[in-house]
Structure formats: structure tokens, C-alpha cells
Symmetry: C2
Subunit: 395 residues, 2 copies
């Protein structure tokens, strides 16, 4: 079960100056793609943000070190799935660096211009030789047509690849993401990649744009409130576009689409839920209340059961430590304002139920009546399939 937002396009373009590839190197069973590459024609300004979990995968150390030593210039990003290279001790860092160095040697660039990211189960040593043995194949396949293959190579429990191309009059951008469980907004909540031809000449420009983009996209999606030790979002900007803008608006739109795809592909999901919070004193407060509602198991199971249970929505908002007055608040489910001014409207629950039953993209809203600020947060319902998938993950 999963919510399909739109047909996945057969071809996903890349902005000028980028190539991509995906191969099978033997980590996943059944020959599925498990090693991906994003390649820039020349070193480009880059930025990354990482999990805030205290447990971090080896790649977080290596990426941070390489971006710092390389002045934020990146030539290539290598990604493996099916192994997180996390809780693997010093050997994990050695393994990741060895992969970066081997790829850099083939590209003729400094090692620090190569990043490596890993995703999958924690605790097993990285099978680094399999990766090293497939670097040549990966480079051979890298092309402007490689976005689809890359998006497949980074999948774990995702049921479909997440790759989106967007452009405006002046700029192009392609975004990739993986993730459908262990998803919560606490820095980048999965692996995400944004490549654009926007001009972000200095690495600090790239970092500023990336933070702004993430705050309004990946930081507003949650599946289960759990963060992964490997969550990382990477931005590469070739600067070859026609426009002079920093690409923030285009990248935010792209990242929001990817964030919605992650929620829609949440483990076991049957509904993509948009939590609309209105009437807050600040956008940050609105987003906070939205995240509390979006992580409530009771709200998420009610949606799975098609139950327009406004009491659970209001109760969840009520524990967000925001001092709103419940007798002035309003709660809506789709078109139906099921609670207003301290009173519920059972006669409107039929319309709310119809919304939950008939739509795969549903809206739950709350107005706190405190101010004018608003934010949307995306999540999915909590189903028996979520439990099944996560009870059986390693068996």
C-alpha cells in the first residue's frame, strides 16, 4: 500500500553540467540497483545538512570533513543503499574514505571533492570491495539520462523512486530523495539531493539557500517521529543557468514536492495527510503544532480508520505547549469545520468522513486563533502494514 501522487515520468532531465548513474554492485538481493552516482562536469559549490541524531553514520563525518577541507566544492557524490555504514566504528570511516579516494583517483580530482552517503540497516560492515569493483561501471554509465537509475539505486523501503525535475524561465533543478520510514523533521530527514544550474558562487551561499529550502520542505514531513543516524540533504549548484536568482523559490517548490512524496510513500501509508495550521503567532510555531499533530499515533490511526476524530486532532494540538484557547480554536477535516468555538458539530462529520474515505490526499486543519502565521506539515496515516513492515524489517 502506498499513495501514488502522480505517474513517475519515464525520463527525468538533469540541469546543465550534471550526469547521474545507478548500478547493481551486490548489496541488494535480486539484482536491484544499489550504487548511485551524481557527477558534475567540474567542481561546483555544494552544501549539506545532516541528522541531529547523536548517533551518526560514518558518512556524516566524512562528508563534513570533505566539504570543509574542499572549501565546499564537489565533483561527485557516491551513494550506496542496503548498508548504513553506521555503528561500524573507525573502520566505517576508513571504508567510506577509501571509496571516495578511489573515485577521486578515477576523476583526477582531490579526494575531498567526492562525497559518499550510505543508507540501509545499521551495524554491518560496509562491503567496500563490492563498491570499489563497480566504480568503473558507474562512471561508464553516467550521463544526462541517468537520473532514473540514480533514483532507484538510493531506494530502501521506498515503494517508488523519487526524482523530480523543475524549471522556471531562468533556472533548472532536479531533486532526488529516498525514505519512507524513520522519518522526522530534525534536519534533513532522509537522503535528499538537489542539483541545479543556479548561481551560488560561494559555499556559504549554497548553505544559506539549503537551510531555507529544508526548513520549508523536508523539515515539515514526518512518518513516524524517528530520525535516522544517516539523514543527509545535499545541494550541488553548477551556476550554468541563465538567471541571476539563487534558486531558492524553485528549489523550495521542488523540495516540497519531494517531501510530499516521502510522506505519500510512508511505510504502510494509505493516505497522504496535509496538516494545515493557521492562526499561529509565527510560522515556526505553526510548524511545531503541525508536527505534534502529524506524529500523533491516535490522529494517524483515526485517518487509517476513516474516522473524522476531531477530538484527537485538538488533543494533539493541545499538548504542543502553545498557549491557545481551545474554546476559540477551529478544527476542519477536508471541507467540514467539525469543531468551532468550543463546540463540536456532529452533523458535519458525515462530510468529513466522505473526505477521508474518497480522497487519498486528505487535509486536517486547526486554527489556533492566536495570530496570522501558518504552516503546512505532511505525514501519512498509521496502518497495520506500518507495524508489519517494521516488526519484520530484519527478518
Amino acid at each position: 500500500m502506498t499513495v501514488q501522487l502522480a505517474p513517475i515520468p519515464d525520463h527525468v532531465p538533469l540541469p546543465a553540467g550534471f550526469a547521474a548513474a545507478g548500478v547493481h554492485c551486490g548489496l541488494k538481493k535480486n539484482g536491484q540497483l544499489d550504487l548511485g552516482l551524481l557527477l558534475a562536469d567540474a567542481p561546483v559549490p555544494a552544501a549539506a545538512i545532516y541528522t541531529q541524531n547523536r548517533l551518526v553514520g560514518a558518512h556524516v563525518h566524512v562528508c563534513r570533513d570533505h566539504l570543509q577541507r574542499g572549501d565546499g566544492l564537489v565533483r561527485a557524490v557516491l551513494v550506496n543503499s542496503r548498508n548504513a555504514n553506521c555503528a561500524t566504528g573507525p573502520q566505517g570511516i576508513v571504508d567510506a574514505q577509501a571509496c571516495c579516494a578511489a573515485l577521486a583517483a578515477r576523476l583526477g580530482c582531490p579526494t575531498e571533492q567526492v562525497l559518499m552517503l550510505s543508507t540501509g540497516p545499521i551495524g554491518a560492515p560496509l562491503p567496500r570491495q563490492r563498491i570499489l569493483d563497480h566504480l568503473d561501471a558507474l562512471l561508464e554509465q553516467a550521463s544526462g539520462d541517468g537520473a532514473r537509475a540514480f533514483s532507484r539505486a538510493i531506494m530502501t523501503t521506498d515503494t517508488y523512486p523519487k526524482a523530480i525535475f523543475a524549471e522556471d524561465a531562468a533556472l533548472q533543478a532536479t531533486g532526488f530523495a529516498k525514505g519512507s520510514g524513520m522519518i522526522h523533521p530534525n534536519m534533513a530527514t532522509m537522503l535528499g539531493f538537489l542539483v541545479t544550474d543556479a548561481k551560488l558562487p560561494r559555499a556559504e551561499d549554497a548553505r544559506a539557500v539549503l537551510r531555507e529550502v529544508a526548513d520549508r520542505s523536508f523539515h515539515r514531513v514526518t512518518v513516524d517521529g524517528d530520525t535516522s543516524p544517516n539523514d543527509t540533504l545535499v545541494l550541488l549548484a553548477s551556476g550554468r543557468g541563465r538567471g541571476q536568482s539563487n534558486g531558492g523559490a524553485l528549489l523550495t517548490d521542488l523540495a516540497q514536492q519531494l517531501a510530499r512524496q516521502i510522506a505519500a510513500d510512508g511505510e504502510g501509508a494509505t493516505r497522504l495527510m496535509t496538516i494545515e495550521v493557521r492562526g499561529a503567532r509565527s510560522e515556526a510555531e505553526a510548524a511545531h503544532v503541525g508536527r505534534v499533530i502529524a506524529t500523533s499515533p491516535l490522529v494517524k490511526t483515526a485517518v487509517a480508520g476513516l474516522d473524522p476524530n476531531w477530538g484527537r486532532i485538538l488533543s494533539a494540538a493541545g499538548r504542543a505547549e502553545v498557549p491557545f484557547d481551545a474554546t476559540k480554536a477551529r478544527v476542519w477535516i477536508g471541507p467540514a469545520a467539525v469543531y468551532e468555538n468550543g463546540v463540536c458539530h456532529p452533523e458535519r462529520e458525515g462530510a468529513a468522513h466522505q473526505h477521508l474515505a474518497n480522497e487519498t490526499q486528505v487535509v486536517l486543519g486547526v486554527d489556533l486563533a492566536l495570530g496570522d502565521a501558518a504552516a503546512d506539515v505532511w505525514t501519512c496515516d498509521l496502518t497495520k502494514d506500518y507495524v508489519q513492515i517494521n516488526a519484520d524489517y530484519r527478518t
Copy 2:
């Protein structure tokens, strides 16, 4: 499915000076008990703590008002299940006060010496006439043998009643609780009642003891991270015991047993989980980390799947915003230290799996290697039955 900790005794005594009763007044289907009474021979010092949810049931307003106006002296506590009297507007408060006044008139005491608590679904008007019609029957049945009936009358989705008697050389105490979903430590996380013959002459003594007791018991249990608008814990102290102690130790022991019962009876639970946090800088910090682990859907589904997934335990601890060093931490599952000093021990996972598979009361532990403080938190696993129960709750 539920975890049975111990056989429920046929008879639960009450301390000197207390009587209890439970009747069916027509709120629950099938003639089950739904109206309970705790009665003191004379007004006794009392204290209560309430939900910190911004949405609060009518009874929270009424209890707070009565305890304040009555100088913390209470003669009787009336409890109905199957209706939360929450989000019912001003009428809900009027209804609760009317029930208190009618009972006070029969007892010949001031209205403010009667408390009323409600639990059940939110949003429907309180069927107050049914309650009023059964006050005489309730008073007739009230006796020292009424603890079992009271404990049944306050049940909602509980699969068994929760009533425990405890005594030491000098004091006696009986505790009651209800709750198996919408359970999270944010003030009292359910309805709970503690009656004792300890001497707590002033209401402020009772409040101080109750806060201390709750911090080490009900504030350390979670089923799903959701708090209810009606959560309330009430303490009544008759002062008729032989001892001079304030009863804090005995009441803490009692309340911890009730808290464990609530977790064991968590909706859909197959395992009572004790999260042992060691090596923290303070007890509060240890309890905080324990609560984050205890609310992780990934940890809870892993236990449901009998998967000794130490990576999820460490990841959950890692997002608690406590700056520990994951390479010095230790994680254990039952007898098996599956992660130590940054390295996992797959060869010990068999023993950890056996612990999860063979025991219904399982232990997950983490040592943060920061200090000497410790705390235990109790929760249950997250199963498909939890989803089923909460998806279908109102249908």
C-alpha cells in the same frame, strides 16, 4: 492481547475510613459498571494533578475549583466512564457541578467536598440524568468491599481492572487506575486514585507527596505519546494509620505497580517493556531519554517483531537532545549487551532474541556513560492490534 502481570485478586481491601462502590447507570452497553464512587467517612485532605493538555475536560475545571474552595478537603469522588464530558462547552461544567451538588446533598456536605471525574470519548453531552438517577444505589452499595466494583466502573478500553492494595508496618494504601491508550507522561496520564491512611494534615502536604509519587510512577509510563484532556490523579489521605510517615515510599511503590499495569494493558500490547536508562547526569535526564525510547514506534514495533534491534534503541536515545557519545554508550536487551563502545555484537543477538521471545516482561537498556543517574520508564510494544483498536474506536 494484553500482558497479565499477576492474577487480579478477588478482594482488594481499603484503608480505614474509606468505602467504594460501582454501579451500572446506562452509559456502557451490556450492563457493565460505568459509575464509581470513592467515599471517605469524613472530609479528608486531598490533592490532584491534571493533564497539561490545552484541551481539558469539564471535570478538570470543576475539580480544581472544588479543591481550592474546599481547602483541599474531600468527602467523595464520583467517576463516570464512557463519556469524557470534554469539548462540551459551558454545559459540561454545569452538568458536572450538578452531579457533585446532588451527591453532596445526600451526604450532607458542601458541594466543594465532592469531586467528579469523567473518562471516555470526547464531544458528546454528559447524560447527567442517568448519573443522578443512580446516586442512591451507589451510596447504598458503598462499603469496604467495594474496591473491585469501583475499579471496574472506571474502565474504558482497559482489558482488566487495576486496583492494588499495599501496606507496611504502619500504613495502608489502595490505588486504582484506568487507561490503556492516549497514555503519555505529561502530568497524570490517565485516571488514577490513591487512598491511604497516612497522615497528611494539610492539603499542601498531600500535594507535595502526590507530585513526588507521580514523578516516579505515572510520569514514567507511556503507551502512545498522546495525552488525554481528562488525565487526573487524585490522592485522599484519612490520617488514621499508625505511622507518622507521609506515606511517600509506600504510595510510590503502589503507583509504580499501577503504572506498570497500565503499560502492560496498553492497547494491543504483547510485551511490557521496561526501558532502563543508566549513566545519565540526573534522574530527570535519564527519565527523559527513557521516554524518548519508549515512544519510538520503531523500537516498539521491533519488540512486537521480537527483533533485538539495538540500532533503533540507540537511534532513539540519540534524538533525545542529550549530548552523549555514542561510541562510549552501551545497549542491552535482557541479558545481552548487544552494543558496547561503538561496536555491535551480532553474536549476542540470539540471546537478546530469546529474551524478547520468551518473556512477556522485557528489558531494554542504555548506558549513556555521562554520570551516575538512572531511571526506568515503562511502555508496551506497538502491534497491529493497537492500530486496529484505534482505527475502529468510534465505529
